[in-house]
């Protein structure tokens, strides 16, 4: 999967999660950029991303991610064969 393909899928997850079709995320996006993205929504977001990409984040990764870019890095690592 390319970084672009990951983003295409990821945008759909974000749009569903926040019920807002205008959302487009990028490497620099953080929770501060999306109004409803609080710590509780974050949990569901992680669950949805894990389901979409068929992978799981470790606890260390979940707590360590700084922005969407780092999240995409992990997804790419994990889904690469």
């Amino acid at each position: 999967m390319t970084r672009e393909e990951v983003y295409a899928k990821l945008n759909k997850v974000f749009q569903d999660q926040f019920d807002d079709e205008s959302i487009q995320v990028s490497d620099k996006t953080t929770s501060a950029d999306i109004e409803d993205w609080d710590s509780l929504e974050h949990i569901d977001l992680i669950v949805n991303i894990e389901k979409t990409f068929g992978m799981k984040f470790t606890m260390a990764e979940t707590t360590g991610m700084k922005n969407v870019g780092e999240m995409v890095d992990i997804i790419l690592q994990r889904t690469a064969r």
Partner: protein
């Protein structure tokens, strides 16, 4: 909404919860009952509320929530959290789990020390429940404890008193004992749910340590669905009847093509055994008061031949109505509801054929049409759907099928009389009409939550409220029990009202309902006679009656008019107020039922 019916896609619900909520709320054709629900959690409950809201909206209940601060379930109750007190919950759900047990036994503890620890964990719960009963008088739903996700001693953990499994099982037993001896208290069996779901996934430590969620977030829809089923049952929104297809639903094969001797039922083949188990499961519903009917595309003779096989568990007499013909199934379904005299929204339609399910779903959307899967899944699909979740079980439930059957016989008898009055007299009706009595409280509460059609104000009451009214000197309460030559109908009518606090000679009827199974029997007149007599005993000279229209109670729009009341007022919504003057006496209207003899 299909997305919220069992078997649902839990991940999809979590992902799309916002748009699902938007769609549910956009459907304004359903009138939902508002309920205030307090969720007192021992762990994070945010998503539980969000998903529970979806299931409740889908069941016609519009919740407003109070949520305790993280793990403040006990403190909120015991120290009278002001916000909770002023919220005045209609229902309290206590979400605690094995994660909330802080002092498990160790192998160093003596047996006595283990017992001490058991009490130390249990007592605060009982304290809290008693306090809720005293302060809030509302139903309580309490989780039991799921099995711990690890076993220090391996298999020994379950029987050695020092084991965590043993400890949790002993605690659960104490919870159940409380549930058995207290009404209005219901166990949410997460222990069972967790085992169905898979304990390791249910208790995934990731979600606890990351977010203090127990169970794991992906399991929340299962949990919320289970809670919603209990709540909808408490508020009288259970289904009432199973309407069943025959070929490949109750037996393997097509009786019209294969012949009754060749369909698969009985113990001869594995498929036959599978269908026999399913028939046995369905038949057991009769004792819970669930009504059974057949809706099948068949010649009636063939349908009966199938059911009359000696090894068929279900027999023709187990069904109130058998509709085996070539009419569309949705039309038969509506006819069945009419004949049994229940709403189509009380039906569960069970059919192996997806095309038939589709027709019924589109033509009778208020009926439940479960995706029952393949024959080996039938029982689990029906069972987990929770259509008939039993929160209160009364003697009447045991007898319900007989009572409905007696109705069918009465209808037949009626055909032989030219004069209706003569027919009523021939029924030898005897009624007991008395103030609410302890042995009927649960049935009375159940009726206030179930009756929709012959119900003037549709006031829903909990058993606690019913008991309160019964004990109050300012209230007159009456239940009516009706027996006739075909059998005992049980408690069929409930009436209560209160004396005007400012005018002791005026009385207001808060609730008047009657079960439709005794429609047109004159029972309402016998009830009114008794109410008038009770009022006159107290020096009351004027009775006020109220009619509040709903989608279902049109049949009693002019009820008070027929009882000789005068209409006082009517507002824009069709709410009417009526009154009856007792100052010149009262003439009894009932002449067919023998009351309190």
């Amino acid at each position: 909404m299909q997305e919220l019916e069992y078997p649902f896609d839990a991940e999809q619900i979590l992902q799309k919860k916002k748009s699902l909520r938007r769609r549910l709320l956009a459907d304004t054709s359903v009138k939902r009952i508002p309920k205030k629900i307090a969720v007192l959690g021992g762990s994070t409950t945010n998503d539980i509320l969000k998903i529970l809201e979806l299931f409740l909206l889908n069941y016609g209940i519009e919740p407003t929530f109070y949520q305790s601060e993280y793990a403040q379930y006990w403190q909120d109750v015991m120290f009278d959290n002001e916000e909770l007190v002023s919220f005045k919950p209609d229902l309290i759900f206590i979400h605690t789990t094995s994660r909330n047990i802080h002092d498990f036994p160790t192998v160093r503890d003596s047996e006595e020390a283990v017992r001490g620890k058991l009490d130390a964990v249990y007592q605060p719960f009982e304290q809290m429940w008693d306090k809720i009963a005293a302060v809030y008088h509302c139903p309580v739903i309490q989780n039991n404890f799921e099995q711990p996700f690890c076993r220090l001693m391996g298999n020994r953990d379950v029987f050695d008193v020092h084991g965590r499994l043993s400890f949790v099982n002993a605690l659960n037993e104490k919870f159940y004992a409380y549930a058995r001896s207290h009404g209005n208290f219901f166990i949410n069996d997460i222990n069972y749910l967790a085992s169905c779901y898979g304990l390791e996934r249910w208790s995934d430590p990731f979600y606890w340590h990351m977010y203090k969620y127990q169970p794991a977030v992906p399991a929340i829809p299962e949990l919320a669905y289970n809670i919603a089923n209990i709540i909808k049952s408490i508020y009288g929104k259970n289904r009432k009847a199973l309407v069943l297809d025959l070929d490949n639903t109750l037996w393997g094969g097509v009786v019209g093509d294969d012949g009754p001797e060749n369909i698969e039922i009985g113990q001869e083949t594995s498929t036959a055994q599978l269908y026999s188990e399913f028939q046995g499961y369905l038949k057991a519903h009769k004792d819970l008061g669930v009504l059974l009917a057949v809706d099948s595309k068949n010649d009636e003779a063939n349908a009966l031949a199938g059911l009359n096989r000696p090894d068929s568990v279900l027999k023709p007499e187990d069904f109130l109505v058998i509709r085996a013909n070539w009419e569309p199934k949705d039309r038969n379904l509506v006819e069945i509801a009419r004949e049994i005299n229940i709403g189509t929204d009380a039906l569960v339609f069970v059919d192996d054929n997806p095309a038939e399910r589709h027709i019924v779903r589109s033509q009778v959307p208020e009926a439940a049409v479960p995706e029952i899967g393949t024959p080996e899944q039938y029982i689990i699909r029906l069972d987990r759907s929770g259509f008939f979740e039993v929160t209160n079980f009364s003697e009447d439930d045991l007898k319900r099928n007989d009572m409905y059957r007696a109705n069918v016989e009465r209808a037949r008898q009626q055909a032989g009389f030219a004069d209706y009055h003569e027919y009523l007299l021939s029924l030898d009706m005897k009624a007991q009409i008395r103030p609410f009595a302890p042995m009927y409280m649960s049935r009375i509460a159940q009726l206030t939550n179930k009756s929709n059609q012959f119900n003037l104000t549709t006031l829903r009451c909990t058993q606690a409220q019913i008991e309160e009214y019964a004990a109050s000197p300012d209230y007159i309460t009456l239940y009516g029990k009706l027996e006739d030559r075909f059998g005992d109908n049980g408690v069929v009518s409930v009436v209560f009202g209160h004396i005007d606090p400012d005018q002791p000679e005026a009385f207001h009827i808060d609730l008047w309902l009657m079960s439709c199974r005794v429609l047109k029997r004159g029972m309402e007149y016998a009830m009114m006679d008794t109410l008038a007599a009770e009022c006159r005993k107290r020096g009351i000279t004027r009775i006020f009656g109220y009619y509040y229209p709903t989608a279902k109670n049109k049949m009693v729009k002019d009820f008070y008019g027929q009882q000789g009341y005068r209409k006082e007022s009517e507002d824009g919504q069709g709410n009417t107020v009526w009154s009856l003057d007792l100052s010149d006496g009262y003439t009894n209207r009932n002449s067919v039922i023998c009351v309190n003899s």
